[in-house]
């Protein structure tokens, strides 16, 4: 079950303790703004090492759930770039997984279950950012 945090709570709990976290959080704020500006962002989850106590996370992983019917066809830079994995990773060092609500909620829930464990099977927190 994801923990819900506002963006301010996220910064306080995960975005301040190290220079690396401050860097990633700043990039995340940009990505969140671009996702939100589409007007089609329904939910946003964070997972991976950024949500743990690791002092220096390698990157930041998130899953953006867009409204059903959302399409990237008419998007242009910089909004399009957050939906293009390689470009987004290069620009922001953030892995954006995304999908629309046209897929069954059960499928999203099972993916979140996958994302809730690291390679060794240890549970990692999933954070839903309050939009």
């Amino acid at each position: 079950m994801p923990t819900s945090l506002t963006i301010d709570e996220l910064r306080q709990q995960h975005g301040e303790i190290s220079a690396r976290r401050q860097f990633l959080f700043a990039r995340f704020q940009t990505v969140l703004r671009l996702l939100s500006e589409t007007g089609q962002l329904r939910r946003l989850y964070l997972f991976g090492s950024f949500t743990t106590a690791k002092l220096v996370p390698g990157d930041l992983d998130c899953l953006a759930v867009m409204v059903a019917g959302f399409t990237t066809v008419n998007l242009t830079s910089p909004h399009l770039e957050v939906f293009q994995h390689d470009t987004c990773r290069l620009l922001y060092q953030i892995d954006v997984f995304w999908v629309t609500e046209s897929i069954a909620q059960e499928q999203i829930d099972t993916m979140l279950d996958v994302f809730s464990r690291n390679r060794e099977g240890t549970l990692q927190p999933i954070i839903e950012v309050t939009l």
Partner: protein, 68 residues
């Protein structure tokens, strides 16, 4: 890295979850959107599959020796 059978079984389960997720996404998104959204899931799938292959390529005795 997978170091025991329990992790192997979890990896296999995760692979199946990702495989089903992509199958559903392919049916519910346009070809262009699917092409864009699938990339990170496919990379995860590939990484997990590679871990399974590496684990299954070693015999239990060799695994124990390499971890010692």
């Amino acid at each position: 890295m997978i170091t025991n059978d329990e992790q192997l079984h979890q990896a296999q389960k995760d692979i199946q979850t990702m495989w089903r997720f992509l199958e559903a996404a392919r049916e519910t998104h346009s070809p262009l959107d699917y092409q864009r959204l699938a990339v990170p899931y496919l990379l995860q799938l590939q990484e997990r599959h590679q871990e399974v292959v590496e684990y299954l390529s070693r015999q239990p005795a060799l695994l124990g020796a390499s971890l010692a």
